[in-house]
C-alpha cells in the first residue's frame, strides 16, 4: 500500500433474528456510535462514510443515501459498494484503499443488513438467472452439494460438521455480540436439528440476522495520534471466480487457494499455522469451515475434518479459528465479512473480552466469501 493504514475503531450493533425496536438507520447508528467511542473521536472528524450491504436482502435501492441519518454521512463524502456476500470486506478494503490513496485520513465504513425486511433466499435464487432460478435453491442447496462432495472426497462424517457447530456455539456463548448463543451440550444436540437439504441440518447453516458492523480506518499519522493500539492493515486480496452455476467447495483449486497463495507469498508466510495467530473465516456452513482449513493451507488436503477432530482450532489452542462464533452464530450478511475483520482487530488489540484467544495474537487472517465463490482476504498485524 502506498501509505500505511490502521483500524482505529471497531463497532458492532446488537445482532439478532429480529430487531423490531429499531429501524435500519438506528441499528446502523448503534455500530457507528460504538466505533466512534472506541476510536475516541466524534463524527465530525470522519471525512468519508462507506455504507455497504446487499440490495435485495433489506429492500433498499441506494441504501447509502437512504440511511444517511444513521451512518453519519451527512455533508461527508462516501459511496456504497456491493459485491454480494463479500460486501462487508469489500467495504473495509475500499476504506483501506481510500486512506492508503492519501486522499482521506479518516474513513468510516459500515456493513449492515436487516434481513427481516427482505427475502435473502428469494434474492439468492436470482444469483444466476437461467441457471439457478429454476432450482430455487439459494445458498443452502449450493452448500449442501459442497457438503456431500466433502464427505465423498475426504471420508468426513456428519459428526465432524457437528464438531464445527459445537465449537462455534461454545465461542458464540462467550461473545455478547453473537446472534445465536444456544448453549449446545454435545454434537447430539446438532444431530437433533431438522434437515434443510441433506446433509445440512438447520444448525449446520448460518442464520439470518439483523445487525451492523462499523470500522474506523485511519492514516498512520492520525492513527498514532488517536490510539495506543492501532491495528495495521498489512495486506488484502480480492479474487473472484466466475461460474454459470453457483458451486462452492469441491476438490479443485478455487478462489480461496489462489487468494491465500497470493497473500502468503507477498507477506513471506510459508507456514500459515505458525505465522498467523488467529483466523476469522467466513463459513456459511459447518462443512465450509473444514474446506477453509484446507483451502487456506492450515492442514493437508482432505484433512480438514481431522483438524476439527483434534481440537486445535479451539479458542485456547494453537490455531484458533472463529473465536467469535463465526458466521454459523451471526449472519447479518452485509455485516458478516466486515465482522470477520472487526473481530480479528479486537483479537490483536487483546480487547475481545470473553472470547479473547489464549495465545498472544500478533497477526490475523480474515476471509470473506460471496457468490459465485468469491474470496477476500485481509491480513492484520499488531506492528508492521
Amino acid at each position: 500500500m502506498a501509505n500505511r493504514v490502521a483500524i482505529v475503531g471497531v463497532g458492532r450493533s446488537t445482532q439478532a433474528a429480529r430487531r423490531p425496536e429499531v429501524n435500519d438507520a438506528e441499528m446502523i447508528n448503534e455500530a457507528v456510535r460504538a466505533a466512534l467511542a472506541d476510536a475516541q473521536i466524534d463524527i465530525n472528524k470522519v471525512q468519508a462514510v462507506l455504507t455497504n450491504s446487499i440490495d435485495g436482502f433489506d429492500n433498499f435501492y441506494l441504501g447509502d443515501c437512504l440511511l444517511v441519518d444513521g451512518t453519519g454521512g451527512y455533508m461527508k463524502s462516501g459511496m456504497k459498494l456491493h459485491t454480494g456476500g463479500t460486501v462487508g470486506s469489500t467495504g473495509a478494503i475500499a476504506a483501506f484503499n481510500m486512506v492508503a490513496s492519501g486522499m482521506f485520513d479518516i474513513v468510516l465504513t459500515i456493513g449492515h443488513q436487516k434481513q427481516e425486511r427482505g427475502n435473502s433466499m428469494g434474492t439468492l435464487c436470482a444469483a444466476a438467472p437461467g441457471e439457478m432460478r429454476e432450482f430455487v435453491q439459494g445458498a443452502i442447496g449450493a452448500f449442501a452439494q459442497a457438503a456431500v462432495q466433502y464427505m465423498k472426497n475426504t471420508g468426513a462424517k456428519l459428526e465432524h460438521a457437528g464438531m464445527v457447530r459445537l465449537k462455534a456455539d461454545k465461542n458464540a456463548c462467550r461473545n455478547p455480540y453473537a446472534h445465536l448463543r444456544l448453549g449446545l451440550k454435545s454434537i447430539d444436540d446438532v444431530a437433533k436439528s431438522p434437515i434443510l437439504i441433506w446433509p445440512l441440518r438447520l444448525l449446520d447453516f448460518c442464520p439470518q440476522s439483523c445487525g451492523a458492523c462499523a470500522l474506523i480506518v485511519a492514516s498512520e499519522k492520525v492513527a498514532k495520534k488517536i490510539t495506543k493500539k492501532p491495528v495495521w492493515v498489512a495486506d488484502h486480496e480480492t479474487v473472484h471466480e466466475l461460474q454459470s452455476e453457483v458451486v462452492f467447495g469441491g476438490d479443485e483449486e478455487k478462489s480461496q487457494q489462489i487468494a491465500a497463495k497470493r497473500i502468503y507469498k507477498r507477506n513471506g508466510i510459508t507456514n500459515p499455522v505458525r505465522d498467523i495467530d488467529c483466523f476469522e473465516v467466513y463459513e456459511p456452513s459447518s462443512w465450509e469451515e473444514m474446506y477453509l482449513y484446507e483451502h487456506f493451507f492450515l492442514c493437508e488436503h482432505n484433512k480438514g475434518w481431522k483438524m476439527i477432530e483434534s481440537g486445535v482450532t479451539e479458542i485456547e489452542r494453537e490455531v484458533p479459528v472463529n473465536p467469535s462464533g463465526g458466521v454459523l452464530a451471526t449472519n447479518a450478511i452485509g455485516a458478516t465479512a466486515m465482522l470477520r475483520i472487526a473481530e480479528a482487530a479486537l483479537q490483536i488489540r487483546g480487547d475481545a473480552g470473553e472470547h479473547q484467544v489464549t495465545k498472544d495474537v500478533k497477526t490475523t487472517l480474515s476471509s470473506g466469501l460471496g457468490g459465485t465463490n468469491w474470496t477476500t482476504l485481509v491480513l492484520l498485524k499488531r506492528s508492521l
Binding site: L81, N97, A126
Partner: protein
C-alpha cells in the same frame, strides 16, 4: 495526491430506449471491446495490462443479485479482482482513482451499465425512499423532482420557459452527438406543450427511459503515458451527501453540491470556475436540475441560473458550454449518467468530440448525482495538461 491518475481510453454505447436484443453484459461489451482494441491492453497479471476492474451497476435495474456478474466475464475478473460501486458511475471513477493511488493496482478498467427498459423505473426508484414514512406515499424520482422543481422555481423566480430553454439547448446539442438517444430540434413552446408528467415537469423536461453502458481504462501516471499519447488527468474530485428526508432539506438549495464543488475546486486549484473551466458536463435528469446544479457548482449566485440560461453563455460557442453532448435529457440511463459525463469530458479534452467539440478545451468539469433530488453529489475536474 501523491501522483496523477490518467484516463487512457474511453468508450460508450449508443444510448437507446430499449435494447431488448442484448443482455446487459453484451451491451457493455460493445463499449468494453473498443477500449481493449484501442489500447491493445489485455487482462493479464504480469503488470503489462489491465490489473483489476471496478464496475458500477444496480441489482434493482438488472433484476438479479450481484449485478456485476452480468459484466464480470467481459472484465477479465475470473480469479482476479473486481469491486462493484453501487452508486452513480462517476463514483466508480472516483473509487477506481483511489484504488490505483492506494498502490493496490496500476491499471484498472471501469465500467457501468444499466437497462432501464427492463423494469418499471418508478417501482425501482420507489425503493430508494425510506420505507416507513416516504415509500408508502408512492414517491419516485419524478414526483420528488416535481416537489424540488416547484420549491426551487418559486423561491428563486425561475420560469418554466427558462427550464424549457435547457431542454431546447441540450436536445439540440445532441444532434451533434452520434451516441445520443434522442436529439431533437425543439422550441420552448414545444417543451411547454408536451404532456405534463408531474407539475411543473413536462414530458420533455425529463430524461427518457434509456439503455446503455460506458467504460474507461485508468492508470497511474507512469503507465498512463505508456498506454496512450494523450492521457486525461483527474485533477480534482469530491462528493458529498445531503439529508435524505425531503422535509429535512430546503429543496431550492443544494448544499451538498456546493460543498463537493468547493473541495474539488480546491484540489484542482480552481478559484473562478466560470473562467477556468472550458466545458461542463452536468447530470440533469430533469431540466430544472441543470439550473440548480449550476448554482451549486458556483457558475452563478444563488437563484441566478435563470439569467445564465437566458444569456446563452452555456450554449455551444458560449463562454462555458454546458452539456455539448446533449446531457442526460437526451438519454442516459440512471447510474450510467455520471460516468457518461466523465467520458464526454475526456473526449472534449482529447479533441475527439467531433461535431460537439468545444474548441481548445483544456479543463473540463464532470458532475454526477445519486439518490433522491440529488442527495449524493459528485464533482470531478479533468485536465489534458
Amino acid at each position: 495526491m501523491s501522483e496523477r491518475i490518467g484516463i487512457v481510453a474511453v468508450a460508450q454505447t449508443r444510448y437507446h430506449p430499449n435494447r431488448a436484443e442484448v443482455k446487459e453484459g453484451e451491451m457493455a461489451y460493445e463499449a468494453i471491446k473498443q477500449v481493449l482494441q484501442e489500447t491493445g491492453l489485455k487482462y493479464v497479471n504480469d503488470g503489462t495490462g489491465i490489473d483489476a476492474a471496478v464496475s458500477c451497476s444496480q441489482d434493482y435495474w438488472d433484476g438479479r443479485t450481484i449485478s456485476s456478474l452480468n459484466v464480470a466475464s467481459f472484465l477479465g475478473t475470473h480469479f482476479r479482482s473486481e469491486e462493484k460501486v453501487a452508486s452513480d458511475g462517476i463514483n466508480a471513477v472516483f473509487y477506481a482513482m483511489m484504488h490505483i493511488l492506494s498502490g493496490e493496482h496500476d491499471t484498472v478498467i471501469v465500467t457501468t451499465h444499466c437497462k432501464e427498459s427492463m423494469t418499471s423505473p418508478s417501482l425501482v426508484q420507489n425503493h430508494a425512499f425510506e420505507p416507513i414514512f416516504m415509500r408508502v406515499l408512492g414517491l419516485d424520482f419524478l414526483s420528488a423532482a416535481a416537489l424540488q422543481a416547484t420549491r426551487y422555481m418559486s423561491k428563486h423566480k425561475i420560469t418554466p420557459e427558462q427550464c424549457a430553454k435547457v431542454v431546447v439547448k441540450n436536445r439540440g446539442n445532441a444532434k451533434n452527438n452520434p451516441y445520443a438517444q434522442a436529439p431533437m430540434s425543439l422550441t420552448v413552446k414545444d417543451v411547454l406543450n408536451s404532456k405534463m408528467l408531474a407539475d411543473p415537469i413536462h414530458d420533455l423536461d425529463a430524461k427518457p427511459v434509456s439503455d446503455g453502458a460506458c467504460v474507461m481504462i485508468m492508470a497511474r501516471e507512469g503507465k498512463a503515458k505508456k498506454f496512450c499519447k494523450k492521457p486525461i488527468w483527474i485533477t480534482g474530485v469530491s462528493n458529498c451527501y445531503e439529508a435524505h428526508y425531503l422535509g429535512d432539506r430546503d429543496l431550492a438549495e443544494c448544499k451538498a453540491l456546493t460543498k463537493a464543488a468547493k473541495r474539488a475546486y480546491k484540489m484542482a486549484g480552481i478559484t473562478n470556475p466560470l473562467k477556468e473551466i472550458d466545458v461542463a458536463e452536468i447530470s440533469e435528469k430533469f431540466s430544472y436540475e441543470e439550473l440548480l446544479w449550476m448554482e451549486g457548482l458556483g457558475f452563478c449566485e444563488r437563484g441566478g441560473a435563470g439569467k445564465v440560461i437566458d444569456s446563452g453563455i452555456t450554449k455551444m460557442g458560449g463562454k462555458l458550454p454546458v452539456n455539448p453532448s446533449g446531457g442526460c435529457l437526451s438519454g442516459n440511463p440512471t447510474e450510467v449518467a455520471g460516468m457518461t459525463r466523465v467520458v464526454e469530458a475526456v473526449l472534449q479534452l482529447r479533441n475527439q468530440a467531433g461535431a460537439r467539440q468545444v474548441p481548445d478545451a483544456r479543463v473540463a468539469l464532470a458532475h454526477g448525482t445519486s439518490g433522491v433530488c440529488g442527495q449524493l453529489q459528485t464533482v470531478m475536474i479533468l485536465s489534458n495538461s
